[in-house]
Structures are given as structure tokens and as C-alpha cells.
């Protein structure tokens, strides 16, 4: 007698409380407490946590397409990177004459390339609102065009996964080229200010952590609402029996398309929050490996639960920080091992394991 939804709420609430604590208490401890206080968190910790939260948002968005709609997207990092580039372009425009070449109009890398004027696609990025719009519109538009073509032709399963991977790889190669006008290999970096605030300042870092936390919590609640609507149930049905849904009269491709576009936009927002916190965006963010890592976060946390993706993203990235600090050469091996172990032993991830434990305790 298993009721759907029951038991989910408790875990979801716990995750939300934990997120709220990170979002509001840690910036406070960082800014308000003296550096020698035992409750003080360093600026390093603050940026690190902020970064984890943007990854959690990225994992959440993948869980929506993979965990609920069954689309194993292996190029989801592309949308994250595009959102990051949009924010990076705004931050580049804020540098103004403080670049190495001091050019009033062009970013350093364009001066270096001997460019005389700003390419048309850089226009507008002086404005914060325009950049924010592009953060969601560019990933959304790419997801729309890609999804429209792929879902209408009913490309599914492994084939779709491979195409998404090819998509992000193509973007990686394109953004590597200097002629693209996005800083080539080096990407965009040396940012100075965000909305007039020094990007290195502790206060801005704390605010960015808070913004990441608030965005993540909002996105989590919106996604939870979404999966509990009738549309959410149609999407779950598509995951399990795609053709059956079609024979009920639903246009499967449209449902997939909108979930994919929405998730791409969320990933773009995650990227935009990530870039000012790490201070750089370069083509390596398009690397297929990054997209695979997102899949591992979600698989490890437990897909199709939303909070599982958050838990997985934070845990895997925390391990990454620790392990790459201690023994950088074994990180990829341990990541691979984790993926194999999760796939074989924990098909429902950590969340599934915890749930099983809880049920055993009850009975």
C-alpha cells in the first residue's frame, strides 16, 4: 500500500531548511562575525558553497529532463556555459578602460586580435537587464531549436543522448576559435565589477551566495509544483510509455520540448550565477565531460526526486574539492568508480538508499 508523494515531503522540507541555513546563516557568519570567531566562515568557503549551489541548480534542471521526462541529455552543460557566457559578457563590458590595453570600447582580447569595432552580438551587454534576458533566452532558444528538430523526428534514447553530446562538443570547438569573438581559449575573465560593486569584495561574494541559494530554493519549489501538475504527470507518463501517451491524444514532442527548454533556461541561470563567483568562463565549460558529471550528480543523488539532484550535486562536488586537493590524479577514477557503483548497486541513488533504510526501520 504505497501512496505516491507521501514521505517525499519530509525530505523535501529538510533539504529546504538546510538550503535556507546555508543561504542566510553562512553569509551572516562571514560578514558579521570577526575573523577569529569559531563561527566565522572564510570568503573561500563562501565562494565554494555558492559554486556548489549553482551546481545544485544545474543538477535540478537536469533531473527535470532526465528524471521526469526520461531524456538522458548528455550535453546539458552547454546551456549552463551559455548562461555563463552571457553573464561573462556583461562583466567584460563593466571592465571599461581598466583592461590591460585601456581601450574604452573593446575588451582586451579584441584589441589583441586587432579588431576595430565591437561585434554586433556584443551590443546590449552593457546593460544588466539585457544580459539577464540573454541568460535565459540564449539557452532557451538553442534548446527550442534543438528540441524541435530532435523531438519532432522522434529521436530518442541513446541516439538523442549522442546528439546532445555532439551539440556541446561542437560548441566547445566553436568557442575555442578566436574568430568567434568570445575570447577563444582563454574565455572571459579579469572581471572587475558587478552592478558597480567590486567583484572580489567579501560582501558581494556573500550576496552572490545568497542569490544562488534563493534562486535554487525558488527553482526547487517551482519544479516541485511543475511535476505535481497534470503536465508533470503527462511528462512522467512519457518517460515510462512514450507511445501510449501519444495514443491518449497528447503531442508528446511538445511536452518534451517545453520541459527541455525550461530546464535549459534554469541551467542558463545557474551558469550566470556561477561565473561571477569563480571569476572566469572559458570553453572548457562546454566539455562533454562536464555534462557527464552532471548526470553522475543526479544519478548519485537519486533521479526523479528533485532534491536527490541537489544532494548529489553538493556531495559529488564536495568530494571533488577534497579529493582534487589531496590527490588530484585519482579524482577521475573515483568519479568513474562512483558511477559504476551507483548504477549497479544504487539505481535510486542516495535518496533511494535512505528511503529503503527508513522503511526497514518502520517495519
Amino acid at each position: 500500500m504505497k501512496l505516491t508523494g507521501l514521505g517525499h515531503d519530509k525530505t523535501a522540507t529538510m533539504v529546504l531548511v538546510a538550503l535556507a541555513a546555508v543561504t542566510f546563516i553562512i553569509p551572516f557568519c562571514n560578514l558579521a562575525l570577526p575573523a577569529d570567531s569559531p563561527m566565522h566562515f572564510s570568503a573561500y568557503t563562501v565562494s565554494l558553497l555558492g559554486k556548489y549551489l549553482t551546481f545544485a541548480l544545474l543538477g535540478l534542471s537536469l533531473d527535470l529532463v532526465w528524471g521526469y521526462c526520461g531524456i538522458l541529455a548528455l550535453g546539458h552543460g552547454a546551456f549552463f556555459a551559455l548562461g555563463g557566457y552571457a553573464m561573462g559578457m556583461y562583466l567584460m563590458r563593466q571592465i571599461g578602460t581598466r583592461g590591460v590595453y585601456g581601450d574604452p570600447l573593446l575588451p582586451d582580447f579584441m584589441v589583441f586580435l586587432n579588431w576595430k569595432e565591437l561585434p554586433w552580438y556584443w551590443l546590449g551587454f552593457d546593460h544588466f537587464w539585457f544580459a539577464l534576458l540573454m541568460v535565459v533566452l540564449v539557452p532557451g532558444a538553442l534548446a527550442f531549436v534543438f528540441g524541435w528538430l530532435a523531438f519532432r523526428s522522434r529521436v530518442t534514447g541513446v541516439y538523442l543522448s549522442i546528439i546532445t553530446q555532439a551539440l556541446t562538443y561542437a560548441l566547445l570547438l566553436a568557442f575555442f576559435r578566436n574568430e568567434m569573438g568570445f575570447g577563444g581559449n582563454n574565455g572571459l575573465t579579469d572581471f572587475k565589477e558587478l552592478l558597480g560593486f567590486n567583484i572580489q569584495s567579501e560582501a558581494l561574494r556573500a550576496v552572490l551566495l545568497m542569490m544562488s541559494g534563493i534562486t535554487l530554493m525558488t527553482a526547487f519549489l517551482v519544479c516541485r509544483w511543475l511535476v505535481n501538475t497534470k503536465l508533470g504527470r503527462v511528462v512522467t507518463a512519457i518517460r515510462d510509455q512514450e507511445s501510449r501517451v501519444r495514443f491518449l491524444g497528447y503531442r508528446v514532442e511538445m511536452f518534451k520540448l517545453w520541459i527541455f527548454v525550461f530546464a535549459a533556461m534554469l541551467a542558463g541561470v545557474a551558469g550566470a550565477l556561477y561565473v561571477p563567483q569563480v571569476g572566469i568562463i572559458n570553453p572548457s565549460e562546454f566539455s562533454p565531460l562536464n555534462s557527464l558529471e552532471i548526470v553522475i550528480w543526479v544519478a548519485m543523488g537519486g533521479r526523479g526526486t528533485l532534491y536527490g539532484a541537489i544532494i548529489g550535486a553538493v556531495l559529488v562536488n564536495y568530494s571533488k574539492t577534497v579529493l582534487t586537493g589531496l590527490m588530484p590524479e585519482i579524482w577521475l577514477f573515483s568519479l568513474g568508480a562512483v558511477f559504476v557503483i551507483v548504477t549497479v548497486l544504487l539505481p535510486d541513488g542516495i535518496v533511494g538508499l535512505l528511503k529503503r533504510r527508513l522503511q526497514e526501520q518502520h517495519s
Binding site: T229, K230, R244, R246, R251, V252
Partner: protein, 274 residues
């Protein structure tokens, strides 16, 4: 026939030049609701359907029988838009060309299908399965903001009672027995309020009692909806069908009552491989 004819005769008479019908409107005044004419489908040279012609009347309960590979499932695939025939025409009423429509459009027009292997959504509850099937605006945006009203809720509960899953409505469909899944899928068909129900092997995996209730249910729908049943169980076919069509090697071998069909020497030969 008044059940299906949706246009008033008076208007047509006024026009004075025969019958004018808007395209896409179901017209069954000539009797049949499904017209399949000279339909052929081949897969890699194998002719799954071979110049098949078949007419299903409005409100009729028709059984399709035939040995394995006779083309029964392919026929359903063609009607529901899953498979495109190489040649031939398939019309819904006199005016709706099903070959120009895809699966969701055909389903929305009122042709619904139960699959051979019960296809329900395991992760959803019995109630949610029926909710998804409910006749409603099935575009993305209205689906997102859809709220069930009291009437729709009653309708779902009523169907749950009809299919005998009253105590199971909050159960996930994945843990139902095979027979219960079959019933749930039949319930999902009813939720769609179809004009034509295509039912592929409805009683596989059912107990004797369940089979009897299935027969009762299908008989009770006769007259309101056109029902095409594919079944191997001859006893079951005999208990429900007034008219039986025998398919063989992709064409109609013969049609008639169960007795006529069973005494047809060609049918005996096909089944016994004489």
C-alpha cells in the same frame, strides 16, 4: 444513427446540391464509421496487409480473428496512425482522412486503442492514469493549469467502479495484477469517450470471472460506441460477437456470424492448416 450524425439534415436539403459537409466532421449516415479500402502494408517485402478492405459500422461490436501473422495488429496500427500504409485509403466516417493525421490527432478525433501488452503508467496511481486519459484539452498550456472539476472527478470515480478497481484507486498501477492492468487500460479508453474502440486481446491474463465481466462490459457499450476486438479465445469471441471477420495473410478471408465463420471450409483449412 442519431448518436453520431452531427449535422442537421435540414441544412443540407436547403443547399440543394447534395450534402455539404465541413471537412473534419464525422459523417456516419451511410452506416460505416471506419472505411478501409485496398490497404497494403509491407515490411521488407513481407506483406502484412494485402489489399485489405474492411468496413466497421457505427455502434457495432466486431471481432477480428485469424492466425498469427494475419495482420490484425498491423491493421490497428494503420487505423491509429502508427503505421502508414503503402497504398489504400482509410477514412473515419465519410469525410475524415485518417492517413493525413498523426496519432494524437486520431486519438483526439475519437479512435482509441488498447494494446496487446497492457500499457498503463506504472509510476502513476490508478486515478492518475485515468485522469491523463480523460477527454480534455490536451495541449501543453491547458494541461499545465488543468484542475479537475467535480464532474470530471465523479466521472473518473464512476469509471473506477465500472472497472472494479474501487478499492485500488490510490494504488500505483505498476503493482496491479495483469488482469487489473487490462481493466485499467479499458477504463482509460472509456475516459476518452471514444467513438471507436480498438481492443487488442483484452482478456489475456484474466481469470474466468474477469473474462465474464469483460464480455458484459463490451456488450453494454455496443450501440454507443463502435468496438473492434482482436482475440484468440474463440469462446470469448462467441460470447460477444454478432459479426466476426477472419483475416488471413493480410486480407479478409470471410465475414459473418460465428457459426457461419466456423463452418466455412476455408476458415477450417486456414486454422487447421489442411
Amino acid at each position: 444513427m442519431t448518436l453520431f450524425a452531427e449535422n442537421s439534415l435540414g441544412e443540407d436539403e436547403k443547399s440543394g446540391s447534395g450534402i455539404l459537409l465541413a471537412e473534419g466532421q464525422l459523417d456516419t449516415r451511410h452506416g460505416p464509421i471506419l472505411y478501409l479500402e485496398d490497404v497494403s502494408v509491407s515490411f521488407d517485402g513481407f506483406k502484412a496487409l494485402n489489399n485489405l478492405s474492411l468496413y466497421i459500422d457505427a455502434g457495432e461490436l466486431r471481432c477480428l480473428i485469424g492466425p498469427n501473422g494475419a495482420g490484425k495488429t498491423t491493421l490497428m496500427d494503420v487505423i491509429t496512425g502508427k503505421t502508414r500504409p503503402d497504398t489504400g485509403s482509410v477514412f473515419f466516417g465519410q469525410t475524415i482522412d485518417l492517413l493525413k493525421m498523426d496519432e494524437p490527432a486520431i486519438a483526439q478525433a475519437g479512435i482509441c486503442r488498447k494494446f496487446q501488452k497492457p500499457s498503463v503508467f506504472d509510476a502513476l496511481t490508478v486515478f492518475e492514469n485515468l485522469e491523463l486519459a480523460l477527454k480534455a484539452d490536451k495541449r501543453t498550456w491547458p494541461t499545465l493549469f488543468n484542475r479537475l472539476n467535480g464532474e470530471q472527478r465523479d466521472r473518473i470515480n464512476q469509471i473506477i467502479e465500472t472497472i472494479g478497481l474501487g478499492t485500488h484507486h490510490q494504488l500505483r498501477a505498476g503493482i496491479l495484477s495483469h488482469g487489473q492492468k487490462q481493466w485499467l487500460e479499458i477504463g482509460m479508453l472509456l475516459m476518452q469517450e471514444p467513438k471507436v474502440m480498438l481492443v487488442d486481446e483484452p482478456i489475456a491474463g484474466m481469470t474466468h470471472q474477469e473474462i465474464e465481466r469483460t464480455a458484459e462490459l463490451l456488450l453494454s457499450l455496443q450501440g454507443q460506441r463502435s468496438i473492434v476486438v482482436v482475440e484468440h479465445d474463440m469462446e470469448f469471441v462467441r460470447s460477444i460477437a454478432s459479426k466476426v471477420t477472419v483475416l488471413h495473410e493480410g486480407s479478409v478471408l470471410t465475414e459473418g456470424t460465428m457459426d457461419e465463420v466456423q463452418n466455412d471450409p476455408r476458415v477450417i483449412q486456414v486454422y487447421l492448416g489442411g
